[in-house]
């Protein structure tokens, strides 16, 4: 099953199970079913709880927050994650702050879904990975879809936090197969540890390198790991957290302590990155065991060009990760 179908199934199940759940977004009702078809079939089955909206990202995130404030649960799809910029005020100054600024805990069960990332030739304003711009906002939790984490459980986890959450969903990842039963492919296996996926080649030896990356990087990280193993006999473990912020490294600390080299990869542009935040958390804990500073891989400090050959130069490729490990 592809990741897109799996997420769609999870949304169906959520709407089936909980009459308080509402889904809002632009062009999400049938027959169109959303720009990436993640909401396909939802409106046919759940009618008025699945609402196609005007082009008003700020407005619909506000409406979602209002539903959540009053007792419902809301999922808002931003057609292209880039447009979440238009909802920044609602996320920063209303939804996240309301959880604490009234002097007591106010639940705001709101999930803002953001199809994210490039490699599809959509150009500078439809290809970005904006995770870093939402880091460090008290009361706002950031998650990212991966092929390893079960989407049903992920949605349940986000709602259980009672905080507004932004869920980043890599657009190319939508087309990839989900990984189940601990199997990734002929070479790699995985296990889930406290919200993290640990992906490893067969064998329990401590790896030469630990790669940390959000779910959207999975295909490129695996390709790099395969090359490194076969061509250079370098073993890597890939760690993929479901929650990017606030990040809890505790469940994987044991794995990290065994690695001399740590590389953090992400799709956002360079500067003020998620990786810098990961390093901030890990350096004090791992200073003694690291062979050198944590290495950061990100897209270039650049807008994302449209033409495929130009886009490739800017965005993270498997080779970018491979070179960072070998450096």
């Amino acid at each position: 099953m592809r990741v897109a179908e799996h997420l769609n199934e999870a949304l169906h199940a959520l709407l089936d199970a909980d009459p308080a759940v509402h889904v809002l977004g632009e062009d999400i009702v049938d027959p169109y079913g959303g720009a990436f078809k993640i909401t396909k079939g939802l409106s046919t089955k759940h009618g008025s709880r699945v609402i196609s909206t005007p082009l008003s990202e700020g407005g619909i995130v506000g409406v979602g927050a209002g539903l959540a404030l009053a007792g419902d649960r809301a999922i808002v799809e931003i057609m292209f994650g880039d447009f979440a910029a238009l909802a920044f005020d609602q996320l920063l100054n209303f939804a996240s702050k309301s959880t604490t600024m009234y002097g007591r805990r106010v639940p705001i069960p709101l999930i803002v879904r953001c199809p994210t990332g490039g490699r599809r030739g959509y150009g500078p304003t439809h290809s970005q990975s904006l995770q870093k711009h939402f880091i460090g906002i008290p009361g706002l939790d950031l998650y990212e879809l991966s092929p390893f984490h079960d989407a049903h459980a992920l949605l349940a986890t986000m709602f259980a936090r009672q905080n507004p959450c932004v869920l980043f969903e890599d657009k190319v990842l939508y087309t990839r197969r989900i990984c189940r039963d601990g199997v990734v492919d002929d070479l790699f296996r995985f296990e889930l540890v406290g919200g993290w996926a640990r992906v490893y080649a067969d064998g329990d030896l401590p790896p030469d390198c630990v790669l940390i990356a959000p779910g959207g990087l999975t295909d490129r990280a695996l390709e790099a790991m395969r090359d490194l193993l076969i061509d250079h006999e370098i073993t890597c473990v890939l760690l993929v957290p479901e929650r990017l912020y606030p990040l809890d490294p505790a469940p994987v600390m044991q794995v990290l302590r065994g690695a001399g080299t740590i590389v953090v990869a992400e799709d956002g542009s360079a500067g003020g990155t998620w990786g810098a935040e990961v390093s901030r958390l890990l350096h004090p804990e791992l200073w003694a065991s690291l062979s050198g500073p944590i290495r950061l891989v990100s897209a270039a400090d650049s807008i994302i060009p449209t033409a495929a050959h130009l886009e490739r130069e800017v965005l993270v490729q498997a080779d970018t990760i491979r070179r960072a490990v070998l450096a």
Binding site: I60, G66, L67, A70, F94, M101, Y102
Partner: protein
Amino acid sequence: MIGAIQERVRALTPVADADLGRMLRIRHFERALLRLFERGQLNGTTHTCLGQEHVPVAVSGLLDPDDYVFSNHRGHGHFLARHDEPHALLAEIMGRAGAVCNGVGGSQHVYHERFLSTGVQGESLPVAVGVALRLKRVTPGRLACAYIGDGTWGEGSVYEALNMAQLWRAPLLVVVEHNRIAQSTPTTAQLSGSIAGRAAGFGVLHHRIESVDVNVIRAELAPLAAVVRSEFRPVVAEIAVHRAGPHSKGDDTRTPEELREAAEGDWHPRYAEAFPEQFARLDEEQRAFIARMVDDVLIRPASEWERP
């Protein structure tokens, strides 16, 4: 000129003690805040609603306990008209024990029962649409009432919200306190066209009320609120008011002429002239009550907040 003023005074309808008392309670509350500021006893900032107290008193008479109220930066009157808890509000503003939000939100971020204020212009309207949609589904007949100013109409969120409210038939009553000035900028310099025209653009019902008479405002609002409740549709009720005080504390840059005009539009002297005995009695009652309230809050210990 005197003749004209007397004409307007005569036009006021007899007012209930409860309404005039509440208007005066809010007036004394706001004046007390400004005094506390002058004495350096208040931290931060505040926006008083001097000259606009009668609006929330008129509106609150039409609200059900299950309705939601969304307020803005100038929200003390909105709160006190809805919840007669001046101790809790002053404690909130001063960060003292018994504060309605433990002193975390302060003057412009208050959430109490179904009253919620936020500090960013226009931000509450889409949220109010979401709440209104839930009310329509779960408790039909209940509404979300959102107070905004004329300055708020510069924000795009207002238009996104009006569009959705009308499209989706959200029971939303938008009360616009049109005080002719946005902080220091006259409305004529920041708003093109009209609020009526803007509402019309979305097919949203609009009604403008010119009176300072609390009974007249309530009577004109009543059928509008009924439409919101029974027909599940938004209404914009625009009420002409005068901001008799500064935007915040000592930041009034209006000319003496403009200030005089604002003072003439204030409900306070008109009610004082029209109903001298009733006014004097209630005014003294509220003055004394607020003075005692301030003394009570001043001796309270600091509020406590367990940071999550």
